[in-house]
């Protein structure tokens, strides 16, 4: 075989040495070796994440363009998002990612109990994130900040009436806040959709982990899901500053 298989990680070598003659039931017939299967799996996952980057990239590009065009609207609209909620969500998501990372480690060292607990915690934090997000969406709904026919710009035209310390926008610029909110919903919505898919997968993985599927050295699904989950975290780590923080001036 070629050189790509020449340098496995130390612990993999150990695992491999211990179980050299045990063929895992999950080993697919068309792979020569388990390492090949494992590497193919994670390589495929990385490629998939690359397509995800391109997918979100289209929206980031639109965000960049319109932010440039309608800077005042974007600044004011961005300031309407709740930084505390966003910060809480960031912390929640990082905790979730941390649990996932421990879960991957637990799977690799075959600690079934730890793995199951960590997957449950990951799911739990994920659900909290979605709950907070839903609350934020609900607030936007009440303020008529959901783009579409019920969208209202009055808060931006006349901020004083709403007790907001912002320069009023002229009506034509205030209309452009709708584009900000559209991009906000599209980007965080796509992110939330990825979270929901991830949580569904987490239920399934938790069930399998509980059954003991990942306690015999076969950890590829956990590892690859871990990659996916971290990717979803990272997308949020871009969204949070770009949507929430970018126009805050803490010194004012």
């Amino acid at each position: 075989m070629d050189s790509t298989l020449a340098t496995p990680h130390p612990h993999e070598t150990v695992l491999h040495a211990e179980h050299e003659h045990v063929v895992l039931p999950q080993h697919r017939h068309h792979f020569e070796t388990e390492e090949q299967q494992r590497e193919a799996g994670s390589f495929g996952m990385w490629l998939f994440l690359l397509t995800e980057i391109m997918f979100f990239g289209g929206m980031f590009f639109a965000y960049l363009l319109y932010r440039n065009w309608y800077y005042p609207a974007f600044a004011v609209a961005s300031n309407q998002l709740s930084v505390p909620l966003g910060a809480v969500n960031t912390a929640v998501l990082i905790s979730s990612g941390f649990c996932m990372a421990i879960g991957v480690w637990a799977a690799e060292v075959r600690k079934r109990g730890v793995l199951v607990v960590m997957l449950i915690l990951t799911t739990f934090f994920g659900l909290i994130f979605l709950g907070v997000k839903a609350d934020e969406y609900h607030e936007k709904y009440e303020l008529h900040h959901i783009p579409g026919s019920s969208f209202s710009t009055s808060m931006f035209v006349n901020p004083a009436a709403y007790g907001i310390k912002e320069e009023p926008l002229s009506p034509d610029m205030a209309q452009k806040t709708q584009i900000f909110f559209f991009l906000y919903f599209a980007m965080t919505g796509m992110h939330a959709l990825h979270m929901i898919i991830g949580i569904v997968l987490l239920f399934w993985l938790t069930w399998r982990a509980h059954r003991g599927d990942f306690s015999a050295g076969y950890v590829a699904p956990i590892e690859n899901f871990g990659l996916y989950w971290h990717f979803v975290d990272i997308v949020w780590l871009f969204l949070f500053p770009l949507l929430y923080l970018i126009n805050r001036h803490p010194l004012h």
């Binding site: 005042p72 926008l169 002229s170 009506p171 034509d172 610029m173 209309q175």
Partner: protein, 352 residues
């Protein structure tokens, strides 16, 4: 062009007579055709070269004649040849094409302006003197004509094949194209961007008239009101003149002579005032606030049609003094119609 003009004329006329080639009816056509013939030559030579290679090798090295193949790894020299030569030819076409592009899209300073509005599924042309046409456009021969175009709904594309010009007509944004017709006659006007059900019905006729005939046509088909006069009415009826009165204490900037000037905006950027700027400033005023003024102008998005905007733009373009603005203000206040004497400079488009 390298080719003698007589020979060129002969070739093009002959080709046109065979109905396989469009007429050369604008100043730019020969330039476009020259590049076309060059590219055609490149294609024919390139294809012939490949065909000859295939044919010769097929005959010389067919199995009956050459039962055993000689293995050849490749040849850096040969490969460099067929990398560099096509590259060189392509770069020539790039430079040539780019020069032509600028020639086609950069209007000369003395071009007369006609407005075109595209909508599903018709072309509306508006001459400065107030002549309106639908799916037709009359232009004088030997005079550069610039079209300032905008779409009311979806993308359209304004194409006159015999003039070799085409430009996308975009919703919400002026685009321009210019030409100088060289032959009297009638020519096709097509919408070439797919724009919905009756896309193929969005066609019209371009009529090129001699300057004398054109003058006659202008007189016959005038509606009595020039675009600027319509604009003046609109200016008064929408209350623009209450702020843009030209008075020293006015809340809006003085618009007299503003067209073609460089304005400094509140954010410090410098903007050239052209048709597109004026239109944008009416629809999205907060992004076009002149330095020293408050952003108090409301948006007129959705309140003026594209035709109305053209009238206003044409009016502001030709506004040399504020005398009539102030007069109109008085008359508007006393609920009278705007005076009908044409403001100065409507017949000759003034371009600073």
């Amino acid at each position: 062009m390298g080719l003698s003009p007589v020979l060129w004329q002969f070739m093009v006329k002959w080709l046109h007579a065979s109905a396989l080639f469009p007429a050369e009816a604008s100043g730019i056509s020969p330039y476009v055709d020259a590049l076309y013939f060059f590219l055609l030559l490149m294609t024919v030579v390139g294809t012939a070269l490949v065909a000859v290679l295939l044919l010769v090798f097929s005959i010389r090295y067919r199995r009956e004649k050459n039962p055993v193949a000689t293995q050849v790894e490749g040849s850096t020299l040969l490969e460099a040849t067929w990398t560099i030569i096509p590259l060189a030819i392509f770069l020539v076409t790039f430079v040539w094409g780019a020069l032509l592009y600028f020639r086609i899209y950069n209007p000369p300073a003395n071009a007369m302006n006609i407005y075109v509005v595209g909508k599903q599924w018709m072309w509306k042309a508006e001459h400065p003197g107030g002549q309106h046409e639908i799916n037709a456009l009359h232009v004088p021969m030997g005079q550069p004509v610039q079209l300032t175009m905008i779409s009311q709904d979806v993308f359209h594309s304004f194409s006159i094949p015999d003039f070799r010009i085409k430009r996308e007509v975009i919703p919400g944004r002026y685009s321009t194209v210019w030409f100088e017709a060289t032959q009297a006659g009638t020519y096709h006007l097509f919408c070439t961007q797919y724009c919905g059900t009756q896309h193929s019905g969005m066609v019209g006729t371009i009529t090129v008239l001699t300057p004398d005939d054109y003058k006659k046509w202008l007189q016959q088909s005038t509606s009595g009101m020039s675009l600027a006069q319509n604009g003046e009415r609109l200016f008064a009826s929408m209350g623009c003149n209450s702020c843009h009165s030209g008075n020293a204490a006015a809340r809006g900037p003085n618009l007299a002579g503003v067209y073609g000037a460089k304005l400094t905006l509140t954010d410090g950027s410098q903007m050239l005032v052209n048709d597109a700027y004026l239109r944008d400033a009416i629809l999205n005023p907060s992004q076009h606030v002149t330095a020293g003024f408050a952003p108090i102008m409301p948006t007129y998005q959705g309140q003026i049609s594209e035709d109305g905007l053209i009238d206003l733009v044409e009016y502001i373009k030709n506004m040399q003094s504020n005398y009539r603005v102030q007069q109109t203000q008085v008359t508007a206040e006393s609920d009278l119609a705007a005076p009908t004497t044409p403001p100065q400079g409507t017949n000759e488009t003034v371009k600073p």
